[in-house]
């Protein structure tokens, strides 16, 4: 369960102040699938950064599974990234020198480095349909394939909350739908997903749409669950 209470985010000081988020309050139950939409500069990416602990709030609280995470120390955030929150980026952000399997292994390398890791990473790659791309470096993979690797990497640690920033923004529509299907599958498996997107088509597949403008939530709408469509 994720709760965001009256979060403010102000960049800069004095006359150069920019208010990125004004009093944002939001809730995501376990197993939820939120799509955050809005024009550029509406604060949707800032909101995602704050949820993930990449940026600090100016005021307000972020509570994950009953505990505040907005005021955690650097080491506390490391623990959160290892166990609870993982990211999927628009630019995939894979390590170029590592192959697909090694990229998926990376979170496990940092969190525990056990022996059964490789099998787990391989399972994840199979789950995203890349069973024949284990040894390929990112440069040898298509954009869609790289994003699949990134999703496998986000899932491998078993984090309950997955934050995705325009995950389909760099791929064509068909591939975008395939990527979205993977998120839906992960959501069906119990992962909570918060996805920033400006594609109405993608957003419509989420369980809830949160529309933002000028740092505020302007509309929240429940949708029929994807399975019923």
């Amino acid at each position: 369960m994720l709760e965001i209470k009256k979060v403010m985010k102000i960049y800069g000081e004095g006359t150069a102040q920019v208010v990125a988020l004004k009093d944002v309050t939001l809730r995501a139950a376990d197993g939820d699938f939120l799509a955050i939409t809005g024009p550029s500069g509406s604060g949707k990416s800032t909101l995602l950064n704050i949820i993930g602990g990449l940026e600090r709030v100016t005021s307000g609280e972020v509570i994950l599974d009953g505990g505040r995470i907005d005021n955690l120390s650097e080491n506390g955030l490391v623990e959160i990234r290892r166990r609870k929150i993982s990211y999927v980026f628009q630019q995939y952000h894979l390590i170029p020198s590592l192959n697909a399997l090694e990229n998926v292994l990376l979170p496990l390398t940092f969190s525990r480095a056990g022996k059964s890791d490789e099998k787990r990473a391989a399972d994840m790659l199979r789950r995203v349909g890349l069973e024949r791309r284990f040894k390929h470096k990112p440069a040898q993979l298509s954009g869609g394939e790289q994003q699949r690797v990134a999703i496998a990497r986000a899932l491998v640690n078993g984090c309950s909350l997955i934050l995705a920033d325009e995950p389909t923004g760099n791929v064509d529509q068909k591939t975008g739908r395939e990527i979205l299907a993977l998120f839906q599958q992960a959501n069906a498996d119990g992962h909570t997903i918060i996805m920033v997107t400006h594609s109405p088509e993608i957003a419509r597949r989420a369980k809830r749409i949160v529309a933002m403008r000028d740092g505020e939530i302007v509309n929240e709408s429940e949708q029929e669950s994807c399975e019923k469509r």
């Binding site: 993930g52 490391v78 990234r81 290892r82 390590i95 020198s97 590592l98 496990l108 940092f110």
Partner: protein, 396 residues
Amino acid sequence: MKLFDVVVKDTLSRRRRVLYTAFGVAIGVAAVVAVLTVARSGEQRIYSEIDKYGPNMMVMPAINDVDLRLGDLRLGSLAVGDNYIPEDKFPEIRRITDGAIREALGIQDGADIAIIAPKLYIDTTVNGTSVMVVGFDPEEERAIKSWWNLSTGRYPEQPDEALLGAKANSALGVDPGSRIALNGREVTIVGVLEETGSQDDYQVFAPLETVQLAFGKLGLISSMDIRALCSACPVETIADAINSTVPGVRAVAVSQIAHTEMHLVKKVNRFMLALAGITLVVGAFGVVNAMMSSVYERTKDIGIMKAVGASRSQILRAFIYEAVAVGLVGGIIGYGAGVLLSYALGPLIFDGLTVKYAPQYLLPALGLAVLMAVVASVYPAFRAQQIRVADSLRSL
């Protein structure tokens, strides 16, 4: 997969950058290795020159000047003491000398170590020509005077055989095979020395006992030349020990010239080492620079690693691993370059010096290289671990 594997893969994928960074290490290490190798060869040459120099200690009869006084009236001084050393002091002098060398070098066995060449000098007339006859021990003398060469004949082997210095040979006008009388005792000339440029040229050498018998000096010698077999032997200490324990003799260390020369070489070496040290520091700044740009270059990768759960200490460790790799590569290159450089520099610094390869510097050189790379990486690594994920990835 371990963090180490990640670093290895990453390092291998950036070979050119790593090589460039390692180059900074290599320059510093090469300078140090070259200087140490040249310095070592330089010192070795001095040592071998000292070895060729002959005796490094002389033992002579002690002659004291004693003031003669009557009441407060000073009557002058009188030389007191014999002009000869009894041969029975010989074992004691050997015991002190060998003992000190054993102690200095940590040797256990009881065999003779130092070369001790006793001599008895007699001023006499042979065939109407005034010459110096020297009673000597042929084997010990030749061991000390390694520069001796024969122009004709051989060295004396029998008690009634004698050797001539080059000038004595021409002065006396006798050739090998002819016989001369030493105070009535006949000896056969068996060899003539090549000119040495020393007083040896004017002397007639005959076995010690023969000369002692001929001149009625049985059991007496004039002096001893002593050579410790090691360049680093504590000659002064030995001389002091002999002077304080053996009465009637005076031991003098003759290594002063060698020491002066060595002192100069040491000064040159220290100067070169200081230059090498500066090179090392300059190289280290090069490494800092290269590591810094490596951090900037990988800001994004570091951000990704942090985003997927890397802690600050893991980022720090990754950079230290990389530094060790850079250090090893730089160390190997630097060591090789340093050895080659020493061959080029040696003859220029100490003219005509042949540099000897010194394998013992390999491990210290690698250690120095790794240390240098790690120290130079501390600040860049510190900067790397402070990178903020949000800044490095811009869009999340």
